[in-house]
């Protein structure tokens, strides 16, 4: 055992440090990819532990990377340069629930869905709902500024975080934001949310809780042509309706989903829209009718309304398990996370079809259509190197198109080590310099989550990510 390890054990206890190679091996991956192992994994239970670890790391000049559940899709929780990995899996207490003020104070390791379940009986929920919500931690959500299908109406993580306790690279502990609106000062909370663990390590989060709506209605619109489905999306927003969720799956994806979940998606259709409206009973009824009318105008073959809560949950289970369902038919695939103005969805879909043809790839499409957030899934066989290369080229072409349309290269998965070399597609050197300036204020030595988020410039914009089986 190295003295390095001994010191960590002294700080947090023997039971909370992993140092044997056979254990560290299990931390070389997250939801994206496998990379270099950390030199040690530490599992703190208090902020003091984190401060101790961070100060120790600063003395030793080793990188520090924070990890929630390791479900992220951009490699945010792996250690490309080794160092200490701080795992928050044991720091998962809900510290306080204050229903009158609709907020909760939690430790970062609390699983997203667990928070909603904790307040569900009283009629509340935590709004951001990434597809991985049954496993991912809110600490990880804060790092990535995670979204989810229902962010169309509710906004993403940053709209639901009120305040943070953050450990800075020097070991200082700061408290940003407040448990209420309007504390004066720079919006450090807003800056740290989505900073992917490169500015500070969050040790406590105050989040907003929402009251459950009185009524929810889920509609499934079925199309024979993908273009009609994408046209409906803009048509709905143009009518002044903001559904709680507006999701699209193309025929290929929905067939995989249907085989996996038997949710009732029509396998012979070209695309479906999964639309949810909520609010007062009256509101839900009216909007459902309006939406149905819009769908039919755009040639929907059928518009079904979920009749029961079970049917609704089944449809959503299908949607939320979609990536995995694709895993059944193609062990390796590369998920993209582009964003475009939603009015340009029809054009984008044609473009993606063209890319698929050009590179001889199968591409499934699953979109948070209401937000214009695309998740094309590029399928390949990891053992076919040539095909793997074509996937990377195709992905880059799709990202470039998003940028050209005035969009973004990531809507909710984060940049991480996956897309940092693509940042110049949407940001100028000056823009990136401003970001570096912010980073240098918080993390001048660059020891917090190194090699993530900002381009290193080393790879001249080439995708260097090794897309492993299924990533």
């Amino acid at each position: 055992m190295k003295s390095f390890t001994r010191e960590l054990i002294r700080l947090v206890g023997r039971d909370a440090v992993l140092w044997r190679p056979e254990d560290l091996m299990l931390y070389e991956y997250d939801g994206l990819s496998s990379l270099r192992q950390p030199d040690a994994v530490v599992l703190p239970t208090t902020t003091d532990h984190v401060v101790g670890i961070v100060k120790f790391a600063a003395r030793e000049k080793v990188p520090v990377v924070a990890r929630g559940a390791g479900t992220g899709l951009s490699g945010g929780a792996v250690t490309p340069e080794g160092g200490i990995l701080i795992g928050f899996s044991r720091m998962k207490k809900i510290l306080e629930i204050d229903l009158e003020n609709q907020r909760a104070r939690i430790q970062p390791g609390v699983v997203n869905l667990d928070l909603s379940l904790a307040v569900s009986d009283q009629g509340y929920f935590y709004a951001p709902d990434p597809s991985s919500q049954k496993a991912c931690t809110i600490g990880g959500n804060v790092a990535e500024n995670s979204g989810g299908p229902h962010t169309l109406a509710y906004g993403v993580t940053t709209n639901h975080v009120l305040g943070l306790e953050v450990v800075l690279p020097g070991g200082e502990v700061i408290h940003t934001g407040a448990a209420h609106w309007g504390r004066p000062g720079y919006d450090l909370t807003g800056l740290i949310v989505g900073s992917e663990g490169t500015l500070g390590i969050v040790t406590e989060i105050t989040v907003r809780l929402m009251r459950k709506p009185e009524a929810v209605k889920t509609l499934l619109a079925v199309y024979d042509r993908v273009l009609d489905a994408t046209r409906t999306v803009a048509a709905i927003t143009a009518r002044g309706i903001t559904p709680a969720a507006l999701e699209m799956m193309d025929g290929f994806t929905l067939r995989a989903v249907e085989d996996a979940t038997h949710a009732g998606y029509p396998k012979d259709s070209a695309a479906v829209l999964l639309i949810e409206v909520e609010g007062l009973l009256e509101n839900v009824e009216e909007e459902s009718d309006q939406i149905e009318a819009v769908c039919r105008e755009d040639h929907a073959r059928d518009v079904r309304r979920a009749k029961s809560n079970e049917e609704r949950e089944l449809l959503w289970r299908g949607r939320k398990n979609a990536f995995g369902a694709i895993g059944r038919i193609s062990p390796s695939y590369y998920v993209q996370d582009g964003v475009i103005p939603r009015t340009r969805l029809p054009e984008m879909l044609e473009f993606i079809a063209g890319v698929a043809e050009k590179y001889k790839l199968q591409i499934g499409n699953i979109f948070h259509a209401g937000d214009g957030n695309l998740h094309p899934l590029l399928m390949f066989d990891a053992r076919d190197e040539a095909q793997h290369q074509r996937v990377l080229k195709a992905a880059r072409e799709i990202m470039a198109k998003c940028a050209e349309m005035g969009g973004s290269i990531t809507g909710e998965h984060g940049v991480g080590i996956e897309k940092n070399e693509l940042m110049p597609l949407i940001f100028s050197p000056d823009d990136l310099d401003a970001m570096r300036k912010v980073k240098s204020v918080f993390n001048p030595a660059g020891e917090f989550n190194p090699a993530k988020l900002l381009p290193s410039g080393k790879m001249c914009g080439e995708l260097r990510v090794q897309v492993s089986a299924g990533a």
Binding site: Y29, G87, A322, F323
Partner: protein
Amino acid sequence: MSQVETQPMNATLVKGYGPGEAPTWDFYSKCIHCGLCLNACPTYRELGVEMDSPRGRIYQMIQVERGRLPLAKSFVEHIDLCLDCRSCETACPSGVEYGRLVEAARGQIEKYYRRPLLESALRKFFFHFLLPHRRRLEFAGRVLRFYQRSGLEALTRALLKPFPGRLADVARLAPRMERPFFTERLGTVVPAVGTRRHCVAFFAGCIANLSFARLNEATVRVLAQNGCEVVIPRDQGCCGALHVHAGIRDLARDLARRNLDAFLAEDFDAIITNAAGCGSVLKEYPLLFEKEQPEELERARAFSSRVKDVTEFLAGIEFNREMGAIKARATYQDPCHLSHAQRIRTAPRKLLAAVPGLELVELKESEICCGSAGVYNVAHNEMAERLLAGKMRRVDETGADLILTANPGCLLQLRAGVAGSKSRHRRVMHVVELLDEAYSLRSGHTA
């Protein structure tokens, strides 16, 4: 897969897996390491380490195959600590058959890893000497019953108390022996009450014949109340579930073949079990014969297609709703091998909803294992106790005075939980026992 040509049995492998069933690419390649299984895994929830998560265990299996990780102590510990509750299968969006993987890994461990002497001897005694043999089991049952009733048990517990470690805790888990043993009923036929509408075979289990004799009796009565003629084949025996979970696959196959012979002799509408753990393995007999002894595959499929959990069977027919009222606030714990392995969740709830007077409160995290997991609570008592403590906290939240479940192992564990809690008045029952009580209240027959 690494090719190890001539591996002597019980030798420690240097690299990769040895010949025989092993976790293979076909099954683990579906795992996209998305991590959606983590929070579904009881051991991950408790320990928070990747090594004790389903994703991590699969990753370890892959690394063993690739030769990066030896099939040695560390690997064995993490694979052993898995409850095989298969909660991760429910969570998995990609359809990874984790149970198959972990059971194959355990098969490799059983063959190629040398366990410490005492552990090895105990396993041999329990899995090989005791479980497969009805006579030996019965004898052991009589001894245990004498021990429990003579006051010796109380004495032993008192004597064990001062000792460090978990001996006393484990002793507490020994099942109560219930006489008359159900073994007496093997080979008999129970006629249907009223019109005979189904002819079913009852799978009685092994230890359950001794320690759950009353549950078995209740099951048969409930089936009869539902128009079933119940045949209890004489030559049936242990299902082999514990062996499969432990990786003792050759013996499991022998046990399976015995049951194929016993149950395929006649053409039953269904083969009914009241034990979720047995049921899931009975339904998966074909997996035992896919690679080894494929000549039995056809019979295994014929057998498995008929196997039904008693709740599944009843909920699938026009079941008898003529029940007396049972006034209680109840909650239901999903047995892992019913909800995850067999995907049966609504059937027991449907039956319970039909019991007049019963107020059913949903148990939060009812899909998480109570820590019973076959003999897990004996082998990994500390983890099992942690899980049980968490379970009892959730039960407390419901305010229920009746805990229902659908598997004997879970009954034992939950009873231990109740006995160790402040609310000792709580009853723990199998769903079928409750139905039996409800029917008897209506028809006046005595339970």
